[in-house]
């Protein structure tokens, strides 16, 4: 049990995939334009990550070493396609706003990274805990980034159609650069520097 908690905390802080390992930056930077997208992306990544870790951990004893990477990729790609199809069928709106980035989860290195570095060497329970930790860690990171980008870039925060608040002054003259790809790098860079400075994450 302690082990499981350790794995969870590991993903959230000590080895946060985005802030510490700097993995999966492509979707983190690309879809963090609004909090809705961040939540949708997190849900999709969590599903793929947990299922991939489960399957990889279950077959770790029989997977020949030489083809393990292709096997992992096939598993991950199938899971992503399942997510993509189900999302199109049951949540067409969300699927539309995430667009190409759902299929691109296939090449998200968090998932392949955890399958290769963790699930292929650890027990089922540990792998699930690791997937949860990493998934929540990813979700936390992308939500924080998209919060700042949405706030600075549009001047207001809306979550799933519900208006939370508008920043006075910023709403009339939003800094559109933060919605652009460049803004993602600015926000991520500043966040990384701040988090390291105040010691939330340790600098390597």
């Amino acid at each position: 049990m302690i082990n499981l908690l350790k794995n969870l905390k590991n993903g959230l802080l000590t080895e946060n995939p985005v802030f510490v390992l700097l993995l999966g930056l492509c979707p983190t930077l690309a879809v963090s334009t609004s909090i809705d997208n961040a939540f949708g992306m997190t849900a999709a990544v969590m599903f793929v990550l947990i299922s991939a870790n489960i399957i990889v951990s279950l077959i770790r004893g029989v997977t020949p070493d030489r083809v393990r990477i292709p096997v992992f990729i096939v598993i991950i790609a199938s899971l992503v396609t399942i997510v993509d199809l189900s999302m199109k069928a049951f949540m067409p709106d969300l699927s539309k706003s995430l667009g190409i980035f759902i299929p691109l989860i296939v090449v998200n290195c968090i998932i392949l990274g955890r399958a290769e570095a963790f699930a292929s060497k650890n027990t089922l329970a540990d792998s699930i805990a690791d997937a949860f930790g990493m998934g929540i860690g990813f979700g936390l990171a992308i939500t924080i980034i998209s919060f700042f980008r949405q706030l600075l870039g549009t001047g207001e925060i809306t979550v799933f159609g519900t208006h939370i608040f508008s920043a006075p002054g910023l709403f009339d003259n939003p800094m559109s650069v933060f919605i652009l790809p460049m803004g993602a790098f600015l926000v991520l860079g500043c966040l990384l520097a701040t988090l390291r400075y105040i010691g939330v994450i340790e600098s390597g």
Partner: protein, 194 residues
């Protein structure tokens, strides 16, 4: 050359084949249960797009190429719609242009009833404002000849910071309607005959 070793050389191939087969079966199964739902969702989304412009729509019909539509309210023609494609800053912009039920003698008779974006890949925060009503409402009630940027004498103000996206929409509407006008006329006459 060393001898083929079953464990080292053959097992990995078999294993990968099995994994691929299993995932193909899984995907085929998921596809079979989601296929119809995805198609209905697409059709519903399209109906909704049409009904934004035609509030009393009861039915619609399309031509074989699926780019011209006639919208009916009961048995009367409520208006037309044409699919349009333009090239924006980030790629193709797909549009749906709703038209008033005018005579169809030449494109000059056409009056835009409304505009919606079906798909686009414009920059979030800038070009994607083409999906906002503040931009799209400018097209309402404009004659076909007025579909031009206001700085060149038309009725449409470009989105600031996204001139290419705005132009893409306008050029898409103009060129697609010009290209599809004949098919629209044909579709309408086929409906009126029957």
């Amino acid at each position: 050359m060393r001898k083929t070793n079953f464990k080292v050389d053959i097992i990995p191939i078999l294993f990968l084949t099995v994994v691929v087969c299993v995932s193909v079966i899984a995907l085929a199964y998921v596809n079979s249960i989601t296929y119809e739902k995805i198609e209905t969702a697409k059709l519903d989304a399209f109906k909704e797009k049409l009904s934004v412009h035609f509030a009393d729509m009861t039915d619609f019909t399309s031509n074989d190429a699926n780019d011209c539509y006639i919208v009916f309210t009961n048995d009367d023609i409520a208006g037309y719609a044409v699919k349009a494609t333009g090239s924006g800053y980030g790629g193709t912009i797909e549009l749906l242009v709703a038209l008033e039920p005018t005579n169809l003698i030449s494109t000059d008779d056409l009056i835009i009833r409304g505009l919606s974006v079906i798909s686009h890949s414009e920059t979030p925060g800038l070009g994607d404002k083409i999906t906002k009503s503040s931009f799209q409402n400018q097209f309402m009630g404009v004659a076909f000849s007025g579909i031009e940027l206001s700085k060149t004498g038309g009725a449409i103000d470009a989105i600031s910071g996204a001139t290419i996206s705005s132009k893409g929409v306008i050029n898409g509407i103009v060129s697609s309607i010009e290209a599809r006008f004949d098919s629209l006329v044909e579709l309408v006459s086929s409906v009126e005959v029957s």
